[in-house]
């Protein structure tokens, strides 16, 4: 333990400074207005909108197939899950049952997405705290998954691959064998993550008891995903409302009750193990059959209101559509996980130092385009 000094430097100096929108630790264009007392954070005011593109407004003049391509651009690290949410909503509204093959492939893609997202988060989180090695380790393993994506969909980040009715095209013949190579590879590499960071005393000092969030607060602020589960809030949509093939795979919902930065970190590490387990169960179970059902070129949803939620790498993504029976939605709203997760940062960071604010915002795993939409 470092001996805590009683004197806080600059204790009586009030400062109001901007962190961002170009600060590396915000991982995107987000600005925090900080009220400081010396090095202690008194208040954090997040300012967003730097990458607001008006996706909800644009969607009102686009057909449902076109909106799929906009959903990618929200949480670009969970592109598959975003596509899936929109597709599931259209299928639910029209009463379409997709083939088994589609369900299994969608689940595999969701889990691969989650893995590559958590890998990138781990890489960047370590770097936020000053451990540069993590960045190379994380990206090294993420590349393997992106290669699988590239081979089948032709793109590494924004796929627009899952569409209403099924998939855009069939997966590459190598898809299965590549995943089967990847699973044992990553099972060997994942313990390295623990060796490098999880048990590291410097890392533990930086993350334990930093940014405490109780279960009640997590629910009240609407914190979902690994950040909510780190506070013991059971909110995994895959468990509570299974979609695609999640009802037939065996996996655990990871819950930690400490609610600090370290707990949120542990949830994501454990989720990577669970994702590997899901992949193992499904990779040999991909049935033959069609990769899509025949859809009309113009989809018109029956009049009414629809809500569909999925679990992305960062929490609960909800799509809310009001339809008047037209080919365009009357109103579409995306309840994105990062939007709710961001606004708890003031509560978490108060009384901590600026360096801890970096750790806290890293542990919330924010993706800025998902907030601004």
């Amino acid at each position: 333990m470092v001996e805590k000094s009683e004197v806080i430097l600059g204790e009586n100096e009030h400062l109001r400074i901007n962190m961002g929108p170009q600060h590396p630790s915000t991982h995107g264009v987000l600005r925090f207005e900080l009220d400081l007392r010396g090095e202690i954070v008194d208040q954090v005011i997040p300012h967003c909108g730097y990458i607001h593109r008006g996706i909800e407004k644009m969607s009102e003049a686009n057909t449902y197939q076109q909106i799929i391509h906009l959903t990618d651009r929200m949480d670009y690290l969970s592109a598959h899950q975003n596509n899936e949410a929109m597709s599931l909503l259209v299928e639910k509204a029209l009463g379409i049952e997709v083939p088994e093959r589609v369900k299994v492939i969608r689940t595999i893609l969701s889990e691969l997405s989650r893995l590559q997202s958590h890998e990138l988060w781990w890489a960047a989180f370590g770097m936020d705290l000053g451990a540069l090695t993590t960045f190379f380790y994380g990206l090294r393993d993420r590349e393997r998954i992106l290669d699988i994506f590239e081979e089948s969909f032709g793109s590494r980040l924004l796929h627009s691959y899952i569409c209403p009715g099924g998939l855009m095209n069939d997966v590459h013949p190598n898809f299965k064998s590549r995943i089967k190579e990847f699973i044992p590879y990553f099972r060997k590499k994942l313990p390295e993550y623990d060796q490098l960071l999880t048990g590291n005393i410097i890392f533990m000092e930086r993350s334990k008891n930093i940014g405490l969030l109780t279960r009640e607060e997590a629910i009240a602020f609407g914190i979902t995903g690994p950040s909510g589960r780190g506070s013991g809030f059971s909110c995994d949509v895959r468990k509570h409302e299974p979609y695609s093939a999640y009802d037939r795979v065996d996996f655990k919902e990871i819950l930690y009750t400490e609610g600090d930065t370290y707990a949120r970190y542990r949830v994501r590490i454990d989720e990577m193990w669970e994702s590997l387990r899901i992949l193992e169960q499904l990779v040999d179970q991909i049935p033959d059959g069609d990769y899509t059902v025949k859809m009309k070129p113009i989809i018109k949803l029956p009049e009414g209101e629809y809500y569909q939620r999925v679990e992305t790498a960062r929490g609960e993504l909800g799509v809310y559509v009001v339809s008047t029976g037209d080919k365009y939605p009357e109103r579409i709203h995306f309840r994105t996980p990062n939007f709710s997760n961001l606004f708890v940062i003031d509560k978490l960071a108060r009384g901590h130092k600026i360096a801890d604010l970096v750790a806290i915002s890293g542990s919330l795993d924010l993706v800025i385009p998902d907030i601004d939409r």
């Binding site: 967003c48 909108g49 607001h52 008006g54 909800e56 407004k57 644009m58 009102e60 003049a61 629910i219 009240a220 602020f221 609407g222 979902t224 809030f233 059971s234 909110c235 509570h240 009414g304 209101e305 629809y306 809500y307 609960e316 909800g318 809310y320 009001v322 365009y328 009357e330 109103r331 709203h333 309840r335 939007f339 709710s340 961001l342 606004f343 601004d372």
Partner: protein
């Protein structure tokens, strides 16, 4: 855990002025705007409902009326309810803020103010969220005209 008919009966008993919408995905109820804050408090604290998790809140403009849609879930009792409030006043739409009951509502209400121009009384920090402070108009309104970057159907 209550099923949807039981939940509808309970809500009907607790909120006598509620009007139910039929054939919807969740139990859906329209309540008078003047009782919004009181009803929200009741829905959160009543042991039969216990809606502690506001998971979605958004505004909808359907040309002749503006409405707010509250998606509520109980993490304890596992049921879901949709609450709606409606106003026909397009000049000065105003509802009570529920951000003191569910802190999650705070950014959602700021978003609705920013894009739809709906004001919330007693909101702690009602400023524009995405657009600049000097932006004119509310883009998600159906009658919004954007001369520079027209989104045309």
């Amino acid at each position: 855990m209550m099923d949807n008919t039981q939940l509808q009966q309970t809500i009907g008993r607790l909120i006598p002025r509620a009007v139910f919408n039929q054939n919807t995905q969740f139990v859906e109820v329209v309540i008078p705007a003047d009782g919004l804050h009181q009803t929200a408090q009741l829905l959160k604290e009543n042991p039969e409902t216990k809606f502690d998790f506001l998971f979605n809140l958004t505004g909808v403009d359907s040309k002749n009326e503006l409405r707010m849609v509250y998606h509520l879930r109980s993490t304890l009792l596992k049921h879901t309810l949709v609450v709606k409030v409606v106003t026909t006043d397009r000049q000065n739409p105003e509802f009570a803020s529920v951000s003191d009951i569910w802190p999650a509502a705070n950014p959602f209400e700021r978003e609705a103010y920013d894009l739809l121009g709906i004001r919330f009384t007693n909101h702690p920090d009602l400023r524009r969220l995405f657009l600049e402070e000097d932006f004119q108009g509310f883009p998600l309104r159906k009658d919004f005209v954007d001369p520079i970057n027209i989104v045309e159907k």
